[in-house]
Amino acid sequence: MSATAETKAVETKKVTIIQAINEAISEAMAADPKVIVLGEDVADREGGGVVGVTRGLSTKYGDDRVRSTPITEQAIMGAAIGAAIGGYKVVAEIMLMNFTTVAMDMIVNHAAKLRFMSGGQTGVPIVIRMMTGAGISSGGQHSDFLEAWFAHTPGLKVVLPSNPEDAKGLMLSAIADPDPVMFVECTRAYFTPTEMPVHVAPIPLGKAKITQQGTDVTIISYSEIFLRATAAAAELAKDGISVELIDLRTISPWDRETVIASVKKTGRAVIAHEAVKQFGVGAEIAATLQDELFGQLKAPIKRLGAPFTSVPFSGVLEQAFIVSVADIVAAARATLA
């Protein structure tokens, strides 16, 4: 049975996010010979990606279409951008989100802007895949969620799935999209097998998913923290608190209509993400809601995010760094107090 909110029976199977993304890329490559893949160690000779997301693809589609690269992220992004302008649809892997920092010029000054600066003559249909997330003892330079930077960059789209089905459907849309898409995968969510329909259609970018209807408070989240929000909602239900749960899935563009309609109904909202709270994605959502729903809110919008600090190594600190189920429960309760 499907784990989605839909009720009609669909054939499902248990897959991880890794497998789901692999399937999406594979289906896109099968359907369109112009879809190509590059990144460090992505070909099967090098293991099909550091956690195996691209495993099997070079064997299936050839070494020309799935290329391992040197450790040179500017060159990776440049090759992706140029090939995209040259007519290809490129899935480029930047192994970890922190490594976007060595390719920021290519991403934000070029991929994001070339369509605009050329007056629409050139476009850059690329997907930039990357993983990130605290909680696996990788320390300060391998764990950051930087989606707010990219959401602040016109020309980019930013996608962060929380489960295999969404990961697959969103990846299909991201590859088909004519513009650059940052596709952010949370390492903690990678390995959990979850039911997913055998056939997944493309899920439009920019559409949030309400996974649970509720009346008391809206909890808005995305990526692995959304799973914690779901657990928090279950916890709150025990106390009779009815939560409406929204998985944003896409941060830029984000689904203003769905979020506003929900908070209009519940009158209360909690936004939770892994990135540091200050100047994070939650700020944009809260700022929008207070404006759109002025006078209609029953409580201030609450934001949850990491404290204003780097990701620590030590396990105790690292766990304290990440927004927890208890944090979300407490914030939701606070809006009802």
Partner: protein, 335 residues
């Protein structure tokens, strides 16, 4: 100056008479266009940051006669000469520079961001070094397509020190991409002399570090420049991979319009200007009987008229409507 890995002397490719005249035409077009640009800025009729290419006419002219329309170029803020040589239409170019909706990029890119895919002019970047990684990608696409197209990546001497240069040459060599890296070495990066920014006496020596042929050429000599470009382009087309060409030249009018050249000696500047490649080549064409004075004058007059026409077209064109501000951010409109 070509190194041994390049054909030289009798073995070097020679432009035929018609090609020589065509190289001259492009040089003259660049020169006259540059003069018109500086004049119009001085007059106050147009405001823009302008990076004169005067003195660097030979490089793109002698390269581009070896290219087809569907070959690609990537260039930099100082790249209008590259654009003109590749065939970007004058009217659209001027309209872009003037910020008009009739420009190549509807006025939204400006002189630092000219793009005109129909001429193969794919990218003008304002970020030092960034023409190279993207040129690789265009070349990769051509290689995947088996199209025999080549891509030229233009950049300055200063850009040869930045990370993107290194990463790009490494990848291009590894993947045997059909790309030619053309360093237009005008001996200055903004106000910094070559030797104060660059740790090697010839940039072409860096090619060895990528297992790639590298050559330093007199970028003001149309014959040398033609021969070296021809060989590198042919090699790229034949799947034999990239080349690094360091083309020695000089920019006569400083880094950006208004620059007062305090950082160079009067002597070096006047020596460079005395060796102005445009009149020199003109004289040579006449002396060698390749063209008559009359033929060249006709070419020059046509160019002057075309530039005038383009300027008038540009200045009489409309500025972009306000809707253009948020159009082309995404394919389907703003998110």
């Amino acid at each position: 100056m070509a190194t041994t890995s390049f054909a030289s002397g009798a073995n070097a490719a020679q432009p035929d008479a018609a090609t020589q005249v065509e190289i001259y035409r492009r040089m003259n077009l660049i020169m006259q266009n540059d003069e018109a640009s500086r004049k119009i800025i001085r007059s106050g009729r147009l405001m823009m940051p302008y990076y004169s290419q005067r003195g660097q006419e030979v490089i793109p002219s002698a390269i581009s006669v070896n290219l087809n329309d569907d070959d690609k170029i990537c260039t930099i803020y100082r790249g209008i000469h590259d654009m003109l040589a590749k065939g970007v239409p004058l009217r659209m170019l001027w309209a872009e520079i003037a910020g008009r909706v009739t420009g190549t990029c509807k006025g939204k890119g400006g002189p630092m961001h000219i793009t005109h895919p129909a001429s193969g002019a794919i990218l003008t970047t304002g970020i030092v070094g960034s023409s190279m990684p993207i040129a690789n990608g265009l070349a990769w696409a051509a290689k995947l397509d088996k199209s025999r197209q080549v891509t030229i990546a233009n950049f300055g001497d200063g850009a040869s020190n930045i990370g993107a240069f290194h990463e790009s040459l490494n990848l291009a060599s590894l993947w045997k991409l059909p790309v030619i890296f053309v360093c237009q070495n005008n001996r200055f990066a903004e106000h910094t002399r070559y030797e104060n920014g660059t740790s090697v006496d010839q940039i072409s020596k860096r090619a060895a570090g990528y297992g790639m042929p590298g050559v330093t050429v007199d970028g003001n000599d149309p014959f040398e420049m033609y021969a070296v470009a021809n060989e590198a382009i042919n090699r790229a087309r034949d799947g034999e991979g990239p080349t690094l060409i360091e083309a020695m030249t000089f920019r006569f009018f400083g880094h950006v319009f208004g620059d007062d050249d305090f950082y160079m000696t009067k002597e070096e500047k006047s020596a460079a200007m005395a060796a102005d490649p445009v009149p020199l080549f003109r004289a040579k064409l006449i002396a060698t009987g390749v063209a008559t004075e009359g033929q060249l004058v006709a070419i020059e007059q046509k160019i002057a008229a075309d530039i005038q026409d383009a300027i008038e077209f540009a200045l009489s064109s409309a500025t972009p409507p306000l809707e253009e501000l948020t159009r082309d951010v995404y394919a389907e409109g703003v998110a």
